[in-house]
Symmetry: C2
Subunit: 321 residues, 2 copies
């Protein structure tokens, strides 16, 4: 007799069966999924776990939890220069609540369809609420975005705006007030971060290194520094801030969020000076929204400067819930 959890599995299976997907020889329902990598491509794999009350509030809308879980994983594919193919879902739930599951799967499949990624396997177990997603994507040799390719003199850029992740957390936790409009915007940025796959496809032949900002800009840029054996300077006054952050009229707070907040899921990438004209053209033509925020230098550390003077950072880590 199938357990409640096996029934859930079948529910996800039925949803997926309606979406024929590229390269899926055998989907959910056997011991393994069988997958065919596109010819000449390599496989990019990343896994992330979201735990209730660590990465999202337990009572958050399940549709948004699902969207956030899949979107943040897709962000890792973007950060690698990979095109999404497939994902697996390991879902641990305290109880088989049908309403919760219907809402969760609606968010999951809506996002999967939007980004062209297919659910190919999973496991549903009983236990404290957590979600582990593994995404798989295809990369072209020579066009991957690694962390170890930066050079001295490379420009440092970020896509879109930074600092919204931390501001959203402050709005959700009610430690900072925003207008209704800005609160809505920040909630969307938190629960439905946009994986920068389109931007990744534009820059992957041009950038020398890249990653996505999940732990905070300074902490993450430090990973590029470590992998490339270099330092970096960030010109704080050039950090791109959203209208929501600017509305606070408190740039010191906004810059702190931008530098040490997490959960932005924007790309931070480096570009050699001779490739910068191509990037600038993409920006000028409105195809790529990105801003130069600094430069790779010698030394092993990320340094922050405000109009040429040292800028003191309150903290460099990121505290989740």
């Amino acid at each position: 007799m199938p357990s409640e959890f096996q029934l859930i599995q079948q529910f996800f299976q039925r949803e997926q069966a309606e979406q024929p997907a590229e390269g899926v020889l055998l989907g959910i329902g056997d011991d393994c999924a069988l997958l065919q990598i596109p010819a000449g491509k390599q496989l990019a794999v990343s896994v992330d776990t979201l735990v209730a009350d660590v990465h999202f509030p337990r009572d958050a809308d399940p549709e948004l939890i699902a969207e956030r879980a899949l979107r943040t994983n897709l962000s890792d594919l973007a950060a690698m220069g990979a095109d999404p193919l497939w994902f697996t879902l390991a879902l641990t739930l305290p109880e088989a609540n049908e309403d919760w599951l219907r809402s969760f799967s609606r968010g999951l499949f809506k996002c999967a369809r939007a980004y062209g990624i297919a659910l190919v396997g999973g496991d549903t177990t009983s236990g404290p609420l957590s979600i582990t997603i593994q995404v798989m994507g295809a990369t072209q040799p020579q066009h991957t975005l690694r962390r170890d390719g930066a050079n001295i003199g490379d420009f440092v850029l970020v896509t879109n705006f930074v600092g919204d992740g931390a501001a959203a957390l402050a709005a959700i936790q009610n430690t900072q007030q925003f207008t209704d409009e800005h609160t809505d915007y920040l909630q969307q940025r938190f629960y439905r971060p946009t994986p920068r796959l389109a931007e990744s496809a534009l820059i992957r032949e041009l950038a020398s290194s890249a990653l996505d900002i999940s732990d905070g800009l300074v902490a993450d840029l430090q990973h590029i520094c470590d992998a490339s054996d270099l330092g970096a300077v960030i010109d704080v006054e050039n950090l791109p801030l959203s209208p929501a952050l600017k509305s606070l009229n408190n740039d010191a707070q906004a810059y702190q969020w931008a530098l040490s907040g997490g959960d932005d899921y924007e790309l931070c990438f480096t570009v050699q000076p001779e490739k910068m004209a191509d990037i600038a053209m993409l920006i000028a033509q409105g195809e790529l929204q990105a801003t130069v925020i600094g430069e790779m230098i010698a030394g092993g550390k990320v340094i922050c400067e405000y109009e040429g003077e040292p800028f003191k950072l309150a903290k460099t880590g990121y505290q989740h819930f």
Copy 2:
């Protein structure tokens, strides 16, 4: 500043860096792992979560928890006819306990080396103890072991012994006494189940369908029946019982465990009559330990018979901890 959990990640990374692995272009430490599938092969993927006090006792030896987690996942590759390549680990821990982690990683890497599978990525998060492993393997087209290939008249076989998983649980939970020797044997069977990869490689060109027994023989054979649109009859008196189970002198109990217990991680597979001579030869030569336990028939259900008479089953599901 790296968190305790990032330090753990680095610890796994260091362990893995010492083991160069096939097809790993980029391992732990970037946004994704980059992997090269062997030419002409397809990718088999399976994911499983083990939750403390659901799938293993919370206070169990971490080395054994790790072995069990990886071995049960490898069993899914065996059940598909896949050769192990890589795995990812998503580890959620209430605290970064160094002793626990050292022991866990010892078990994990010992098992990974033994079965030639490489850790290529992971995520370590703070939360209630659980382990999600995703294994990836390579299959050859035409030589995969699916659930949907059984035919009427095919023989049904199982590898090794069945019923040890449930007996082990009874021994661990002290609901059944065994001699020390048999208790040791059952503990090994529970925490260190042998993924039947060698057997899988022998049968994958001969079997018409296969899976591994995790929920119980009847429940799992039912999956082959469902996928192949057939029924099956199990000759209960032919079920292969280990010396530990036979020592009870309680065949009724032993057969119940063998039929409806879970966690055996043996292969259950079907073979067409014309291929049976090859299988019999492998068995006779001692290369394959397997036993014919029944036959595929028309109808949609698994039927149990003892010397030709209906055999009544107490329950068909499997209750974890």
